[in-house]
């Protein structure tokens, strides 16, 4: 769970999602045992986390409050966030979220989500590229995001770019659970750069693509 001070990892994940829609209430889970929801707005003097009230309800259970935190964003706005306790981050059940203005009770946000549908994994790690012994193929291997849940349910996407920028990038989809691939249609004597990203597989899960892994490169 993010502390009250800006955490670089939370910051980068929030930025990854924030590009989808400013002024929206966004939520994500990293390991299915956590959930953080946040929104960003223009900073205005005197407006702080006490001005809003955040509450949530798992279907069939009572409404509970979630304590709001705030921090300045890298882009000069302010971000409000709250992090649910592990005991309440249940999947496969509707979770209703409500943000109101504390003074007036006016509705600010209302969303119903499923925790299993808002997974935002860390990037995969340990990406290695090597030339196969024969045929000029390139073999890529990597590891699932550290600490990621249910690794057999993670699918990946590989990005292949020719180093000189010519020919553009190519994306290769990897079946869930697999952490390697063989690329056979690459040009010879070319420097290629590879990266890989992860997401939980449908239909049981859903969410967002992770950030790209550290890239590796190789001369074919």
């Amino acid at each position: 769970p993010p502390p009250n001070l800006p955490d670089p990892k939370f910051e980068s994940k929030a930025a990854l999602l924030g590009t989808r829609g400013p002024e929206e209430l966004l939520c994500f889970t990293e390991r299915l045992e956590d959930l953080v929801c946040f929104w960003e707005e223009a900073a205005s003097p005197g407006v702080g986390s006490n001005n809003y009230s955040f509450s949530y309800q798992l279907e069939g259970e009572p409404w509970k409050p979630c304590r709001l935190h705030q921090a300045p964003t890298a882009r000069g706005a302010v971000r409000f966030w709250c992090s649910l306790p592990t005991a309440d981050t249940s999947s496969f059940v509707p979770l209703e979220l409500l943000v109101t203005v504390a003074s007036s009770g006016a509705l600010r946000y209302h969303r119903i989500i499923h925790v299993n549908e808002v997974v935002l994994l860390d990037a995969p790690v340990g990406l290695l590229a090597r030339l196969a012994d024969e045929g000029g193929h390139v073999v890529l291997r990597w590891l699932p995001p550290p600490g990621a849940p249910m690794t057999t349910h993670i699918r990946y996407e590989v990005d292949v770019s020719a180093g000189n920028g010519a020919g553009g990038a190519q994306r290769v989809e990897i079946l869930e659970g697999r952490t390697e691939c063989v690329l056979s249609n690459l040009r010879g004597r070319t420097r290629y750069t590879f990266a890989v990203r992860a997401r939980m597989a449908e239909p049981s899960f859903g969410g967002f693509w992770s950030a790209w892994s550290e890239p590796v490169s190789l001369l074919t």
């Binding site: 005991a87 981050t89 299993n116």
Partner: protein, 168 residues
């Protein structure tokens, strides 16, 4: 492994039922009129708290899935009967309901072949097993959401783990 074991371990087989359930959920998502049931139906709790689930005995997981599936099957049969007796049953809703009845019967058979029933009745500490949590629903939309969440969640998780255990 006996050949029957592999059938539900072929992920695409389970996926078909999950997609069918999601489709039924989507079809009823917006419907208010014609979706309410004339009585409350008891359904299993679909919620999975991963922190707790990972620490749960296999026998307890099997109970949740096996008994949950039995309760869900009864609930869908009841829903089918209520829908058939309603004044103007929609053909689309009836088809989804019929497919759910058929699908749950198939899943029960597949899970029995996987050994879920055996695991569910013979955990070493049966006395300490928690009773199954249940809810009631009063609309088709909630019934189908339970159906979809149960298959995507507990059933899929349990099946994935049981198939991996069978592999070893």
């Amino acid at each position: 492994a006996p050949p029957r074991l592999s059938l539900i371990c072929d992920g695409r087989v389970l996926e078909r039922y999950i997609l069918e359930a999601k489709e039924a959920e989507n079809v009823t998502m917006g419907c208010a009129e014609g979706c309410s049931l004339s009585e409350n139906i008891t359904v299993p709790d679909t919620k999975v708290n991963f922190y707790a689930w990972k620490r749960m005995e296999v026998g307890q997981q099997a109970i949740e899935v096996w008994q949950g599936l039995a309760l869900l099957s009864e609930a869908v049969l009841r829903g089918q009967a209520l829908l058939a007796n309603s004044s103007q049953p929609s053909e689309t809703l009836q088809l989804h309901m019929d497919k759910a009845v058929s699908g749950l019967r198939s899943l029960t058979s597949l899970l029995r072949a996987l050994g879920a029933q055996k695991e569910a009745i013979s955990p070493p500490d049966t006395a300490s097993a928690a009773p199954l949590r249940t809810f009631t629903v009063d609309t088709l939309c909630k019934l189908f959401r339970i159906y979809s969440n149960f298959l995507r969640g507990k059933l899929k998780l349990y099946t994935g783990e049981a198939c991996r255990r069978g592999d070893r």
